[in-house]
Symmetry: C2
Subunit: 334 residues, 2 copies
């Protein structure tokens, strides 16, 4: 058997069954998935979060992760950002003819490992193959189902004046890591993607259910775009302080070299929390005790304003308006 | 503004928000989707079906449908095939840079129309853009959530000896329609895809909840592959009668011309039901009263056998073993 994915693997016939049974199911199997009916069947009795994301990152392997880890963590994080515990996941592969089976299996190992860490179960899936040149190696879609406790009401629309803004760690790692790998750049100090599942961090923070107003992970568009989204949804303004925003030296140097602004670079293992001022320090301490929040810091606050703006007080004391990312910075970063 | 999708529309920044707000949301909007948080939040208290499918059909428009209609109907049908009523849908777009916005909007109009017909709500979504040559126009993933009544237990594993096999109408329409469109073939009699949502047909059939053992839609791999899957899952054999299998003249002629076997050609609006012999006629009559089942017919039965085989009694009285589709027949048919 050829060690690459063939067009016939997408036929729906014998080759498709072989691919699924030999190269996919062994990495993901559980009793629900193994039934192989057209839908998985489970009992759900919850306030439920439902989300979807497709992943088209190029390249599919990068320092700190790959498209498989990203596809699981990305959807887990979207569930966590409304305060949901991740429960079930779907996994749909679009494979370009010619992908080495070894690369597919390496990606699926990452899928399994990320799913196991967060205890999310992959219960339904799909595999398509397209002819060479009609996709770029591998695209993955995941959709997730999560469980929300009834006392939680987290939304981008819930920020209140005076709320504190917490960032869970340094920004820009994912975008710089993927771009350096794609372009073959040799960075002075190598940068690893921060790709990580944030569900355990959020679970710890939910010890303060009433005090967490908004959560969002600053992925495509970076921190500045995410803050603009939250300001617009909440109809508030946000003020942040430049010297409070953690950025690794390696990322800072790479950004200076490349003329990029780290505020607009994608992250895949960070979150922004908007919380009541009364509990901000306690929530911050809780976050710092989690491995994915150990570098958390308060970067600003929600302020009154007629327009929904994000203003950054620079290190020199000037104020600069941060807009959403305009144009296109780094395509196919996730 | 250029009337095509640009790479920057996938940035996650301002252009992404413009695309979503101007070209996507107006077609799909509902209060849950419009919240624009990272996950949709809904209450679920059901035995739940969960499924996913990616659609990579080429071309994206074909007689009788397009990739948008297909993406909604395909997932609705996967929900219906375990006896679930479709409730919520996710919609994730992977767009190739350069896709005319008009084509995107035409696809989204089809999405809306299919969703409205079946009353399924699109409550979460995602949009990615990849550079020219890294995808082929448009790929769509949908994931679906459905509600199953507690008295229903439908699975490919449930066929019993003596059960009757009902097919809901003529086979091969979808595959021939897409292939003719792709290859620019002029068929003597044009063929329309049968792409359709089967949830209303299944809902009517569920008046006999205990008597419906298996349901499956014969998509990729065609009727022969689907029957093989059901035989293997149920550890039974299946006998069908060639002269009972409805095939339109137009499809038969096209298949003869092209050397294709209609038993292996994809359908997108047909189902196979395996039902108790006692109620087979009543279920058949019920199906014939639904617009998507008006040409339903009993094509065979479940028989005892040491191996799980599908045997076809030909018009001439010979027996022929039907295997799963081997190799690749028509790539990117759905």
């Amino acid at each position: 058997m050829d060690k690459r994915v063939l067009l016939g693997h997408g036929s729906g016939g014998k080759l498709s069954h072989d691919l699924i049974n030999r190269n996919v199911l062994p990495f993901l199997a559980n009793p629900i998935l193994e039934r192989m009916d057209d839908s998985a069947v489970v009992d759900i009795n919850w306030r439920t979060a439902f989300t979807t994301d497709s992943f088209v990152v190029n390249p599919i392997f990068f320092p700190g992760g790959d498209i498989g880890k990203l596809a699981v963590c990305g959807t887990i994080n979207d569930l966590a950002m409304v305060g949901a515990k991740p429960i079930y996941l779907s996994l749909a592969l679009i494979i370009e003819e010619g992908l080495p089976l070894e690369e597919l299996e390496q990606v699926l190992r990452s899928v399994r490992s990320a799913a196991e860490e967060t205890d999310i179960k992959i219960i339904t899936g799909d595999t398509k193959v397209v002819n060479r040149g009609s996709a770029d190696k591998l695209f993955i879609n995941t959709a997730g189902i999560g469980m929300i406790s009834p006392d939680i009401n987290i939304s981008g629309a819930n920020a209140k004046i005076g709320d504190k803004i917490i960032l869970s760690g340094p920004i820009g790692d994912h975008g710089i890591s993927v771009m350096a790998q794609r372009e073959g750049l040799r960075l002075k100090i190598p940068v690893q993607s921060d790709c990580a599942p944030l569900s355990s961090l959020v679970e710890a923070m939910l010890a303060y259910p009433q005090d967490i107003h908004c959560l969002r992970d600053p992925t495509r568009g970076g921190l500045a775009t995410t803050l603009n989204e939250l300001a617009a949804q909440s109809k508030m303004s946000i003020r942040i302080f430049e010297d409070k925003i953690p950025i690794r030296d390696s990322v800072r140097i790479a950004c200076e070299m490349l003329g990029l602004d780290p505020l607009y670079i994608a992250n895949e293992g960070k979150l922004v929390a908007i919380v009541t001022p009364e509990r901000a320090e306690e929530i911050l301490n809780t976050m710092r005790h989690n491995p994915y929040g150990s570098e958390s810091t308060i970067i600003g606050e929600v302020i009154e304003s007629r327009t929904s703006r994000v203003v950054m007080r620079t290190s020199l004391g000037a104020s600069r308006i941060l807009d959403m990312l305009s144009g296109e910075l780094l395509p196919r970063i996730c």
